[in-house]
Amino acid sequence: MDENFRIRKILDMQELNIQEIKNLNYKLLMVMKRIREVELSISKEYKNQEIRCPVHLSVGQEAAAAAIALNINKTDYSVSTHRGHAHYLAKGGDLKAMISELYGKKTGCSKGKGGSMHLIDKEVGFMGTSAIVGNSIATGTGLAEAAKLNSKGQISVIHIGDGALEEGVFYESLNYACLKQLPAIYLCENNFYSVYSPLKVRQPPNRDISALAKAIGTKFSYKCKGNDPVNAHNIVQKAIYQCRNNYGPIFIEYETYRWLEHCGPNNDDNLNYRDQKEIADWREKDPIKILERKLTQKESKDYELYKVYIKNEIAEAFQYAKDSKPPNYIEAFTEIYSSK
C-alpha cells in the first residue's frame, strides 16, 4: 500500500489509535511530533500579531499527551488547563477548529469567544479547558461521576499542572473522587514551574506528590520521572486499565519541562529564572529526539514522509484559519444564555 496513504489513514483515525503500526516508540513519536510541530507553528505565526490572545505552548511536554492519545477512547472524557493544546490534540480534537480559535474566527472551536485557553471538541469527548488554575479539576471530577452513572466503562482524564496542587479544589475534588470511587485520572504534568516561580517557593522540598495523592485515598498513584515517553505510556496504559476496571481514581505525576516561556511564543531563558544547566539537562531529555534515535531504518523512511504529511496538514489548518470569515462583532452579544 502507498505509504503516504497509510499514514493518512492513520491520521484519519480520530483517536490516533495507531493500530497498524506495531512499534510503540514510533506511534508515540508520531503523536508527539505532530503536537510539537503545531506548537512551533503557532510560535512562529504569533509574531505576525494575527493571533491576538495569550497562548501557553507545550513544547517539551508532549509525552504525557501522547501517552493519553494512544490509550484513551473517543467516548472517554478529558479536560485541561490554560496549557491545553496538546491535550486537545491528543484526544483527537479538530486541528482546524483549534487554529481558527486562536485566530478569533467563527470557525474556531469556541467561535472565537474563548481563544487558546478555551478549547473544546465535544465530538471526541474533549470537554473544555479553563484559564483559571484548578478550575477544571472539579469539572473533570464531575464528568467522572457522570461516567460512573452512565455505566458504560467511560473514564475522565483531568490534565493539570504542578501549580494546581496548591489550590484547595484539588484536594476537595480528589477527596470526593476517592469517596465515590470515580473513574478519574488526574494527570499532573510537573514542569517544576508556575509562570516564573519554581516549586521551591510554592511547595515544601522533596514532596512526593504521588504519595500525597495516595494518602488522600487513591488505590494507585504513579510517578513518572525524567520526561520518559515510553514509561509515561506504560503507566498511563496501566492506569487507564485500572480506572476502567473500577479501581477508582488514579493520580499520575509526570515530570517534564517547558521549553518556551510560560505564556507567549518565545524562549525566555535569557531571564535566568531557570538555571542554565537545568535547562540544558532537560533539553537532553527531549522525548522526541530520544525516540527518533530509536527508529528502525524502515521507520525512519516512513517518518520522513510523515513529517511532510503533518507539515502540510498544519499549513492547511493555518491557511483555513486565516481564510475563515471573521465573526461579526454583533455575535459577541449572543449565546450568553442557552434559552430565553
Binding site: 504569533y46 500579531q49 491576538r52 490572545c53 495569550p54 497562548v55 478569533g104 474566527k105 474556531g108 469556541s110 472565537g112 469567544k113 474563548g114 481563544g115 487558546s116 485557553m117 478555551h118 479553563s130 484559564a131 483559571i132 488554575v133 484548578g134 501549580g163 494546581a164 496548591e166 489550590e167 484547595g168 508556575s194 509562570v195 516564573y196 516561580s197 517557593v201 510554592r202 511547595q203 505564556c263 507567549g264 511564543p265 531571564l271 535566568n272 529564572y273 471573521p326 465573526p327 461579526n328 462583532y329 455575535e331 459577541a332 452579544f333 450568553i336
Partner: protein
Amino acid sequence: MKLTFSQAINQAFIDAMKSDEKVLCLGLGATDPKGVFNTTSGLEKLFGSQRVFDIPTSENAITGICVGLSIGGYKPVLTHQRLDFALLSLDQIINNAAKLHYMFGGALNCPIVIRMIIGRGWGQGPTHSQNLQMLFAGIPGLKVIIPGSAQDAYSQLRASIESPDPIIFLEHRWLHNSFSEIKLNHSSLDIREQSTVKEGSDITILATSYMLPESIKAANILEKYGISVEIINFRCYYFEPDEAIIKSLKKTKRLIIADTAQDCFSISYTLVEKIKNKIHLGSDKYSILAMPSVPEPTSYYLTKNFYLNYQDILNQVFKMLDIKNNFIEETSLDTIKHDIPGEWFKGPF
C-alpha cells in the same frame, strides 16, 4: 518626578515599606523577573524575602492568611495579576476580612490591601478581564479604590496601606504605562475623596479607571469645538456621592458617568440615584457609558466596537448638548488597534 503608573505603585511600596516595617508585599510573581508588570520589581532586594515574597497558587487560603497577619499586627499587601484569580478568595474577603471589625464589635480591624488588576483587550477573554468592581463595592466593610492616574496610584496606594480597613485596590492594565508628574505626598488624602481633574462648565464627566484618560482625550477635542468639560476622577466607591460631584453638577447640570464595568446593577446606576437624592437631574441630563452585561469575548473581531473609548464619550456629549456632529474624521486618524492600549503593547498578556 515623572513616573508611570507602574513605577508609581512601585514607589508607593518603597515609601510605605520604609516608613512602616510591618508592611508586607506578597503575591504570585511578586519577586519574579517581571515583578507584576514592574510594580513590585526590586522590592525583595530592598526589603528582604521575609517582607516581599512569592506565594503558592492558593488564593483563598492566602487571603485568610493575610487576615491573620493583619490581626497579628502586620499590614499585608496582596497582589493578584488578574481580578479573576481573586474570585477564588471571595469567602475570605467577604465572610472574613469585610466583616471582621463589625462582627467582633470593633475588637478587631483588618488592615489589608488586595490589589487586583482589571483590564481589557488582547484576547484576555471572559475570565481574564472582568471588571467586577460592583461585586466588591456591594460588600459593606470593604473600601474599593480604583485609581485613574499615576498620581492616584502613588497616593491612593499609600493611603490604602495606612487604612485600618480592608481595601480592594483595582488597577487597570491599560493604565500601567500612563505617566504623570507625581507628588510624593499622600498624608492629606482622604481615601474616599474624588478629585477634579479638569474644570469646565458645560458638562461633568465622572470617569473611572481607564475611562479617565479616554475622557481627558475627549475633553481636549471638545475644547476645540468650544465645549467645556469638567472631569472628576471617580476613584473610590462609596455610597454617598462626594461633595465635589454635587458642586460640579450644580454648575454644569449635566452628567456622564464613564465606567469600565457593566451597566446593569452597577455602581454607576446606584450613584445616579444617590446624586438625584441630592440634586435635581432630569432624565435627559444624565447618562451612563458602561459595558454591556455580556462576558468579554476573546476574538479580536468580536471585541471590535465592544469597548468604550473617547469617541463614545464625544458622541454622548454631543447628544446631550443636542449638537449635530460626529467625529468620524478624527477617528480615521487613529491607527492603534482597538485591542491594545498603545503600540508598546505586543502581547501576550
